[in-house]
Symmetry: C2
Subunit: 354 residues, 2 copies
């Protein structure tokens, strides 16, 4: 058994009103912390009151970006139970990210147990209004006090939790995205498939350009040929072309999204043809021109599904499905959120009820 | 005038013995801090006792890697004066990194003034033994408490300083480096030319492989074709081929090293042919085979010059200049360190005496 110490807060915070939540602004009363020291390993798992992190200015996280993170959610089901969606998949991916970033692996079972206990302690922080959830952010930072460039000898693994509002307040709203030409998010051999800070820092510039042109996100092409579709900002991307759903294969520079994987499994279970393969932007444009580009959507933990209503590439603005959500997108959204809120049976064994 | 507040420490630390210094382990008594808040701009410049940084666990630096840094040195000259080497170039580059990372530009004049005052306050921390120096680390971190992915609305610009030992205790020792095949450091359109944490995090894996194979650093090829030489771990790279010194041109994915630039200027001033251009690893191998690869060396703030005694590519181990430092490498080392320690005249106007 993992001996996780729990120190309850003596000053519980006031919870924000459900319509004030937004994303990532408010944090629950407690956090989980686990330390790593070279020669000792991961040690001292504890749940403590939510509090600042105090580090020496030479701590490596401030200089060399050695960090990884995850994102998942806890939901209150229609039966009033607390539910986690595929947390085991998140901790498995965290360890894959660790491997790429030279961070020592965590004990996935300990992490899952810690998360369950943390959610239990802060259960009242899971919002209950329709569409709301408790966003969970596990992350690891390099904390050794040393300016030499080498893998850190000290780390902290931390889990914080943030009550989050409904992503779609007024029904599902298709987004406009644009293909980035000048900047690159990731390249094969780089860190693209790891969930690490540098990928997000690198992508900010594309987002800035998209904002300026009135688009909500960037569609990234591959870093080698600037030709093959990779992913959208913080989402994986899917195209429905002539009845078949196509998504870029995991090639080393694409984040292996857990929502992406869930969508593929749902599509297969429904008998809808789905392909993971290389897809060029030219193929997408051609499908648009010959009328077979039926749906485009992004997938991710935050929104589950983001239908794409307009896709801009070079000077061409492609309107997808008249700017409305498509049938398959809607089905996927209903199925996944149905499972997450306990409205429909979880035949995939994805959920853990606390 | 910039009004920089100074709070002197009441508890000065003991200074480490000169032979204990190493690199990046010890820090001086004070640090400089400048805050940024959206709507206000950079504000509240202050020199305060060296102390921990306390941040909310949701501070963006812990999640999305939005950070930049610099590295430079202060020296005590043979005349006993404190000297800075090209600090203006560092703050100019910091602002170029800021631009790529969507961080608001700093006032370079204020930064320089702050640095001068900080070095003056901690002047006793500049070690005086031969080859030692005070390593200076300016850095900027994103501090907004928010899990949304966007440029932070709050930052801290901090300068810390670390007395550093002589890089070459027993004469200049050529290093063995190997060409990385599997992993990639950076790609055109990415963040390679910015001095940001993610580049260093990405490169750790190559370093791990080099360590395992008995090499001290990784030579990175370009991310698109895996063919053109980019840079070595934390240094820029130069090849002397048939009398001409060649270094990869600044193509967007290579760090624009200030030592690199200084070396090019010194070479030109001495009438030695120098070319900044694309150079493939095949050209290097060919030069080795036909006997024209005369010298290979890396350049950087820490070591000034690192002669390369062995270069490994695929299964071939190329011994350079019989594993000894070459004439040009030695001349460049002597010239640059001569200027830095005030032994020879600074005809380039690179140094600032305090």
């Amino acid at each position: 058994m993992h001996n996780i110490k729990i120190e309850q807060t003596s000053q519980p915070k006031e919870k924000p009103a459900p319509d004030q939540l937004g994303f990532g602004h408010y944090f629950s009363d407690h956090m989980f912390v686990l330390d790593y020291t070279e020669g000792i390993g991961w040690h001292d798992p504890r749940i403590i009151p939510y509090q600042p992190i105090s580090l020496d200015p030479s701590a490596m996280i401030f200089h060399y970006g050695q960090s990884v993170f995850e994102g998942l959610k806890a939901y209150i089901t229609v039966d009033g139970e607390a539910l986690l969606f595929r947390p085991d998949a998140n901790f498995k991916r965290l360890n894959r990210s660790n491997e790429r970033l030279c961070i020592p692996a965590i004990d996935e079972q300990l992490a899952l147990e810690a998360l369950k206990q943390l959610v239990a302690v802060d259960r009242e922080w899971i919002p209950t209004a329709p569409g709301t959830s408790l966003y969970i952010r596990p992350f690891i930072i390099a904390t050794e006090e040393n300016l030499g460039v080498h893998p850190s000898k000290k780390y902290q693994f931390i889990i914080i939790m943030s009550p989050s509002g409904s992503y779609y307040k007024e029904g599902i709203n298709p987004v406009k995205i644009m293909v980035e030409q000048q900047f690159v998010r990731a390249v094969k051999g780089g860190t693209g498939e790891a969930k690490t800070g540098g990928n997000y820092a690198s992508a900010l510039k594309g987002q800035e350009i998209a904002d300026r042109e009135g688009y909500s996100q960037t569609l990234w092409l591959d870093g080698k040929e600037n030709r093959y579709v990779e992913e959208v900002g913080s989402m994986n991307i899917f195209f429905k072309i002539a009845g078949t759903v196509v998504t870029p294969e995991l090639n080393g520079s694409i984040l292996p999204g857990i929502t992406r994987d869930s969508m593929i499994q749902v599509l297969k279970s429904k008998g809808i043809p789905v392909e993971e393969r290389r897809i060029s932007i030219d193929e997408v444009v051609e499908a648009y021109h010959n009328g077979t580009l039926e749906e485009v959507f992004g997938t991710g933990t935050a929104a589950v599904i983001s239908p794409v209503g307009e896709l801009k590439y070079l000077d061409e603005k492609m309107s997808i499905n008249k700017g409305e959500i498509g049938e398959v997108s809607q089905m996927l959204y209903d199925t996944l959120t149905g499972i997450q809120y306990g409205k429909i049976e979880d035949s995939f064994d994805w959920t853990i009820r606390l």
